[in-house]
């Protein structure tokens, strides 16, 4: 999965629904570790800013 940083508000809603702890969030950036990600699409579905898309 890929974060579109231009749209991302760093709210962390994606982290709450990630079943495998693939997403990290700091003050400035949300990052998805595609080595851990299982492509369940939970993050994409709930992102209120529509800032996540498929792909690496």
């Amino acid at each position: 999965m890929k974060v579109i940083h231009e749209l991302c508000d760093i709210c962390g809603t994606c982290v709450a629904v990630c079943p495998v702890d693939a997403i990290s969030v700091s003050e400035f950036i949300v990052e998805i570790d595609n080595n851990i990600c299982t492509n369940c699409l939970n993050c994409l579905k709930v992102c209120p800013a529509k800032a996540i898309e498929e792909g690496e």
Partner: protein, 397 residues
């Protein structure tokens, strides 16, 4: 100066974090709070509505952090009918930015120490035992040792995960939210408005929380399992274009609100989870400030007691869990099953519900009456509602 060791390290300085820090410090523990952002309370990801009775036990009411006082709640059904509720007690719309800082100041007054721009990176473990926190501060990775970690790191919590706790919530148990602060409105400063309906806000609601007679937080939360095709912003934009076509958006913020029951596990050896991180949010209203503070006050006291007794094991810390369940945790569980009911309510049912509300004189109105009507025809839930209103009395020392 930041020391290398504290009795308790609290991660996150929102209302839950600072209340936990305050109660731990007040009862004799040395406490460090780590806050990721440059100041507590920002960015504000909150509709900012609270009840007077909810916050009064924790802090003296100060007009510096109150934008408006709320006396009336207005519920609007899908067909546009509205019902007014008058007698739910005083509410406030807060200035969270100032409120959160005030709570931190209170924690500091009781001896807790705060560091901002300190981003927790991981838990430090020794033979699987949590012995501290690794964090990033001023361009350097640092370590602080402690006996107890209190994780108050919000919806986006990862600290619990680092401790091996399952914190992920199901899509239907998270509300995906957008909020605008709007200016140039002509509204009633003392009235909070709520709009329901599957076309308006599927599985959630739209709120208008006035901050003055011309400004308001106007936001939406929709259920995570219904947000794939159309996101919350599309619903909110439609609403705002109809209702406030000439408003100016002065602030836009996104966020997620857990609407689950409290996590199965909120305590492990050397760690406790509080607030949004523990999913201690009212699953029907989405309100988390007061619930988080109540939980945190219990956790803070238990932490201090644990330090005094030298007991940091889960068995001892479970006192927090027990006390929480007795205070609000069990009620939250009931609210969660009621939320399921709301989640699949038809527009017709919403219309009937508001119609029912309209028939009750507004000064006789109560949430209990509303919920009882909402779950009519489901005897088990009706009993649960009755129970939930008996047990939700909160005692604080």
């Amino acid at each position: 100066m930041i020391k290398d060791r504290y009795d308790v390290v609290v991660i996150g300085a929102g209302p839950a974090g600072s209340v936990a820090a305050r109660y731990a410090a007040e009862n004799g523990a040395s406490v460090l709070m780590l806050e990721r952002d440059r100041e507590p309370g920002i960015p504000v990801r909150c509709a900012e509505g609270v009840s007077h009775n909810g916050i009064a036990p924790f802090i003296d009411i100060d007009k510096r952090w109150i934008a408006s006082q709320i006396d009336i709640a207005m519920l609007t059904s899908p067909n546009g009918e509205s019902a007014l509720m008058h007698n739910n007690g005083i509410g406030y719309v807060l200035e969270r930015r100032i409120f959160d800082t005030a709570l931190c100041e209170l924690a500091a007054k009781h001896g807790a120490q705060l560091v901002t721009k300190a981003n927790a990176l991981d838990l430090i473990k020794e033979n699987d035992k949590i012995i501290g926190v690794k964090y990033r501060y001023m361009g350097k990775t640092r370590e602080v040792k402690c006996d107890i970690v209190i994780a108050a790191d919000g919806t986006e919590s990862r600290v619990g995960r680092w401790a091996g706790i399952k914190t992920a919530v199901a899509l239907r148990d998270i509300d995906t939210c957008v909020q605008y602060t709007l200016a140039g409105l002509d509204i009633k400063k003392d009235t909070c408005e709520f709009y329901f309906g599957n076309e308006v806000s599927p599985g959630g609601y739209i709120w208008i929380f006035p901050k003055s007679d011309s400004t308001a937080n106007v936001g939406i939360g929709i259920s995570g399992h219904l947000s794939h095709e159309k996101g919350p912003r599309e619903y909110l934009d439609k609403f705002v274009a109809q209702k406030f076509p000439n408003a100016t958006i002065t602030y836009t913020v996104y966020g997620g609100v857990p609407t689950a029951a409290t996590l199965e596990e909120i305590v492990k050896d050397n760690i406790m989870l509080v607030g949004d991180a523990a999913r201690q949010v009212n699953p029907i209203t989405g309100g988390g400030v007061v619930q988080g503070m109540i939980a945190a006050s219990i956790a803070g006291k238990v932490a201090a007691e644990a330090i005094k007794k030298g007991r940091f094991d889960a068995k001892f810390l479970k006192k927090y869990r027990k006390e929480w369940d007795k205070t609000l945790g069990n009620t939250q569980k009931i609210m969660h099953s009621m939320k399921e009911k709301f989640l699949f309510m038809t527009d017709e049912r919403f219309n009937n519900l508001v119609n029912f509300c309209k028939k009750i004189p507004s000064d006789k109105f109560s949430l209990k009456a509303l919920f009882t009507e909402a779950v009519k025809g489901d005897p088990k839930l009706m009993l649960d509602v009755a129970k939930s209103f008996v047990v939700s009395k909160i005692k604080l020392k």
